[in-house]
Symmetry: C2
Subunit: 110 residues, 2 copies
Amino acid sequence: MNENNIENIKSQMRKGVLEYCILSVLDKNDAYASELINKLKEARIIVVEGTLYPLLTRQKNQGLLTYRWEESTQGPPRKYYSLTDKGRTVLQEMDKAWTEIVETLDILRK
Amino acid sequence: MNENNIENIKSQMRKGVLEYCILSVLDKNDAYASELINKLKEARIIVVEGTLYPLLTRQKNQGLLTYRWEESTQGPPRKYYSLTDKGRTVLQEMDKAWTEIVETLDILRK
DNA sequence: TTTTGATACCTTGTATCGCAAGGTACTAAA
DNA sequence: TTTAGTACCTTGCGATACAAGGTATCAAAA
């Protein structure tokens, strides 16, 4: 077990909340994939393209997200994702679930 | 998307913290597998045998846990797991990582 | 005009991990 | 000696994150 293990541990923990993070960010502003990656990177949540694109597609297929194309002055067009009503409802459920887990861990650690 | 989905969301979120939960529980008292399952169930963290046994073996192989056999008056012998020094060190790292993620989510959700 | 670099999209193959289901073994009571 | 309870463990499957590689658009440099 080496130093990478700390990153590995964090990576494991992040896995369960990635979808929650995506919906949370999109709840505040619509965004396109590369933008999302950067925003999450700033928040120290590392996501790579190969993770994010399938995830966005999954969430879109579940009816949580929609998207629209927008031209860019600096490259190819961008696919802006935004929450649907269903997405907002699920986000609220996730809020509850997250709060519950944080409380549970608090108790377990005491 | 039905009511099961809420459980599914919680299940996803729990995934990342299962190892952390195990080490946390064992940090307080040695325990055998069936006992661990019950303790976690009380804390609303559902784990099944097919998940727990391989996980304990992984953690043992990583040097985080050791075990000893103890006779039982009520059935087959029990395999009591306990934290090693390395396990305690990793648990501290997990504490930090968890705190960090909770803070990050707090910020993301604001 | 062609090439290069930047941006942005997406797919494929691999590894990990949780879960459902099934299997073994010990003990005590019926 | 069979059944019930407890405890251990394995196998096969599905979901998902990641690494790596691929396609397409645009603008600026060669």
